[in-house]
Symmetry: C2
Amino acid sequence: MTIYDISEKAGVSIATVSRVLNGSNNVSEKTKKKVLDVINQYEYTPNAFARGLGLNTMKTIGIMCADSSDPYLAKAIYYIEQKLRANGYDSILCCTGYNLDTKASSMNLLITKKVDGIILVGSNFIYEKEEDNKYITDAAVQVPVMLLNAAMDAPNVYSVVSDDFTSMYDATLEMIRSGVKDILYFYNSTSYSGKKKLAGYRAAMEEKGLLTNGSFLQLYQGSHEDIPAMAEQLIKLHTKGITFHGVIAADDSLALGAMKYGREMRLRIPEDLSIIGYNNSMLVNCCDPELTSIDNKLETLCQHLITTLMGVLGGNEMPKKTVFSGELIKRGTTK
Amino acid sequence: MTIYDISEKAGVSIATVSRVLNGSNNVSEKTKKKVLDVINQYEYTPNAFARGLGLNTMKTIGIMCADSSDPYLAKAIYYIEQKLRANGYDSILCCTGYNLDTKASSMNLLITKKVDGIILVGSNFIYEKEEDNKYITDAAVQVPVMLLNAAMDAPNVYSVVSDDFTSMYDATLEMIRSGVKDILYFYNSTSYSGKKKLAGYRAAMEEKGLLTNGSFLQLYQGSHEDIPAMAEQLIKLHTKGITFHGVIAADDSLALGAMKYGREMRLRIPEDLSIIGYNNSMLVNCCDPELTSIDNKLETLCQHLITTLMGVLGGNEMPKKTVFSGELIKRGTTK
DNA sequence: AATTTAAAATGAAAGCATTTATGGACAAGG
DNA sequence: CCTTGTCCATAAATGCTTTCATTTTAAATT
């Protein structure tokens, strides 16, 4: 069933069928109805490949993320996918892992597949070294690239971020104000937003004259699912004689690791150990007491990202970088 | 940069370039090298739309799931996406929600996009009423449909499931054996696998003569993220005078709800309240004590599903339904 | 009412970038 | 000299969009 069959049965040319299909207004109501009737009768849908060839687009956006099973990224993907669909776009999902080469080749693959734009979900896509980000600027030559939770200044690259520095700065001050002085910062990456968060913590601690020699910085490298391993690392720290009465974690998983550590050391939370997480994900309800966490307004970020992308695809001038503020949601793990 | 440009620069016809591109063996090593050199030099990649038109495939599989932010589904999607990619396929993700009409229209959309196959992730895609599943059989006329955690007997529909009945039956018996008699079954759907699980629980309870009038069956209807709401429901039950010393939950989220209930009622776990979850997801580590849960071998299921799909696409005869057994992973919430 | 003019509706045909069937040229072998 | 097989080019096919030219229709003018 092709456009030719339809045109024949409707007694018009294929050009007219095409016009009806694409909502061109240069077609009389009468013939439009005639054509639509035939289309409905035969349940005809145009061939997407041929259409793609003609239009040079298939209304598809590539979504890249390191690991779609990470609850935070999964949520972001969910919002993005929903909002894309609401705008008539589909999405090709690409889980890249954390390896640079894989990211670069996935990017090429998406471009080869002729996506109309690429969304990078997560701050891990931006690297310290300028040259490591070449894969992004290269891609941006072909299609617009959107960054969620990361920023980069390059042509055709658009960034939507949460103000991680301020969120972390405020949260740290808040914990200090509650009476906790020895606060461990527990983090898992020095990605774009990772650095901002760390800087926020640092600034607050420094301001209050609480910054020690760095022993209060703990990098965790492992699966976001391996909460026991996180606790383990903190216990080791304790064994080494490094003690602390507060933990600020760069994400909620790490905060759960800290909670497990607290339980195993028989510390009361929050009396003996205050904990703040980041992302305000579903994990905050999974523990007891419930986790105080920073909400970075993920849905708002995603909504804005899609709006911007749609603007760009529509040929409009759009802001290169947008920053939203986060909010500390207080629950049981802080005083 | 098209195949014509390449053919011209290499001094061959476009047919030869195409042959080189598609690994046809009817081309001499010499010209093959000559063509490849030009291709590499100009970084030429064939146009996916034109190729799709010619080959009538773009090596893309549609993945449908109700909610990609559900940790279990997210994990499944992750495995599936990875394994598809390893086989040279891409995936279009489609989050449908739980509405039948949306599912049906998403399905059509994927077919319109000319995917080579469709994977339905999650048991909620199969409905009680035969006619409600028509959208699946209709789609299966066009492309193979794979079901994960659900089964259906129809042409061109393939099912990969975990033996939920037996897993639940065994788990229930195990809890009874540990001395708990009044076991609440806490579930959230009567989807395909939901029914199997419920039946497993029922069979075990009946066998031991413990099945009461149904007051031990609790249906939860709400967001999988809203753990407080789950606890709330159980507390209400308690208020009504219905008491129990064991909870078997249809998934790990619900089990966490039960744990929250336990904490709020100041019950010791597992002494006063035993809990078993389902899926053995990352959530099992998020609580204290850690959650006993049924592992349904998700990665194995996904691997097998992809293998089957690849077989079908390769034109081979493949098993219509495959069943894997689950395994009870004992942790701190059971005696 | 007849004529002109502009606008709207339509069709023919030229892309779009591939794949592939068909057949021709050439070399080697009988 | 004829056959066989390898290698390659020509050309058709894929199913749509869109430009351009043409026809039809409606409105404006006389």
